[in-house]
Amino acid sequence: MNGIHGARRSTRPGWLALTVVPALVLLLLPIAAVYLRLDVRTVLAKLAEPEIVDALKLSLITSILATVVVIVLGTPLAYLLATRRFRGRRWLEALVDLPMVLPPTVAGFALLMAFGRAGLAGGALGAFGVSLPFTTAAVIVAQAFMAAPFYVSAARAGFQGVDVRLLEAAASLGADERSRFVRVMVPLAAPALAAGATMTFARALGEFGATITFAGNLPGSTRTLPLAVYVALQSDLDAALVLSALLLAVSFALLLSLRGALSRPVWMGSDAPR
């Protein structure tokens, strides 16, 4: 930690500490406001209510499945972007990142236009008796669509970070590209892949706009935790409080795990940079 910057750093808490106070207040105040209103008895009572339990279960299941979908579809894409130079690469990169900046309602609307009954692909799906909108599957699609960029960009960076000389050594040892991917790329990029998957899960868990637009708000089948919070706001403030506290805690724990608690493999050693 005693690099070039060390020499410039003042040892006293100076003006910089003071200037971050407003930001900290802005971040902490809403969180504190939620937790200060909670009491244990309401928490226990609300967590036993069937609607809340349903929303909780639905959110966990859909977020896990969305993460799996993103890993399956996103890994080859990330590998392609990390290892190949081709025309239109920049376009593809921008396309992959697009859901990160898209208003979720726009994404949900676009999904409806694609998979709705009158949508681009909806007619074809309908011929097979499949109707996607307003089902649990639609929740998963909406979550995966919105959360995919987090995984793809983390995985791409992870693959790019693998030392090309190790891949050359593997090639000289008779490993073809598939074998190099499985035996060298994936194990060495594993921390990045895990981080990307965690971010994806967290984003899927918090997804609201695309879900309500594309999948609706049906209790038990498409009403996930964030939607349940929105509904509860209008009728049951205690329920909204408990659910918000829950989502806050889970999200914060996931982010924390990405930083410190994400245990590093032994071979990286204790002197590897964090």
Partner: protein, 357 residues
Amino acid sequence: MLRAELRLARGGFLLEATLEARAGEILVLIGESGCGKTTFLRLLAGLGSPDAGHVTLGGDVWCDTARGLDLPAHERSCGWVPQDLALFPHLSVADNVAFGLRSRRLDPAATTRRVRDILKDVGLAEFATRHPRELSGGQQQRVALARALVTEPGLLLLDEPLSALDVRSRAELRTQLTRLLGGRAGVTVHVTHDPGEALALGDRIAVMEAGRIVQVGTRDELLRTPRTRFIADFLGINLWRGRVGAPGADGLAHFVASGGEFTVRAPGFEGDAWALVHPGHVTLSLAASRGSARNQVTGTVAEITPEPPDGALLRVRLAADTPLVATLTRDSASALGLAAGTPVCASFKATEITLFQ
């Protein structure tokens, strides 16, 4: 038999090299850094494509640009030990070594057996479960070597395998290399910029200068008729023929040459040998020195010439029972007041003598 003729232009650099080596041969490719040695090796390994040329090993054509053929690295029976070793950090020593066997789908029992045997050969049997970062530089080097050797490649490419090691482990590994590579059926190409290493290890030596191979020959041929200035300079070393005696309990032995006797680190063999001392490792003084150097030769200065490229170093030729060359800075030469005819004592340590058969 390896036959390679490769041409590659990159920016202002042109590699245009032809090389042939027989099966079972250790060919040393020597040249200064930046002369194109590594680039040439990478083309042999299939880690790059030449503009033109061909590579064949035995009856197999690996590359022939005229026919549009250029096999990727994993389809060539070619072991590769890069300068930075490139050991897999996430795999244990045993799994590193087993990597190539598993690529070739050898059955697990045979894989385990061959890994165990080669780790024993390189003296790392008890390190099988360690990870590379837990090993010393010399041990890592031996893992990389074992990993490349275990698949018995038709062509083995070693890129400066000893350069990153300290003097002591370098000497150990050099002896080990001679033993390990000696019995190989395939061709070995060993790249180095160290003349001592080249003379010690090579059946034949190929000299590369600015992307071209300027001379190929046995040690004796190169010593007798160096064809370029670089070769002459690189042979500007102290090299004596003699006999190594039995090692003592202290790990030292005697080397007897026609003009004198030296104390050397026991090389692991006895009998006829060459002894080599780099001129930079010879210290000159006006009287017998009391330092740790075990070997001393007294004589008179015969000739002093400036060393290329800039003459900051002087090359001092010594007339003595054992003729010697030493290099030293201008400052130390004038401090000693050296001139032709000055009586001096030359000394060097036992560890600075390289022995080879």
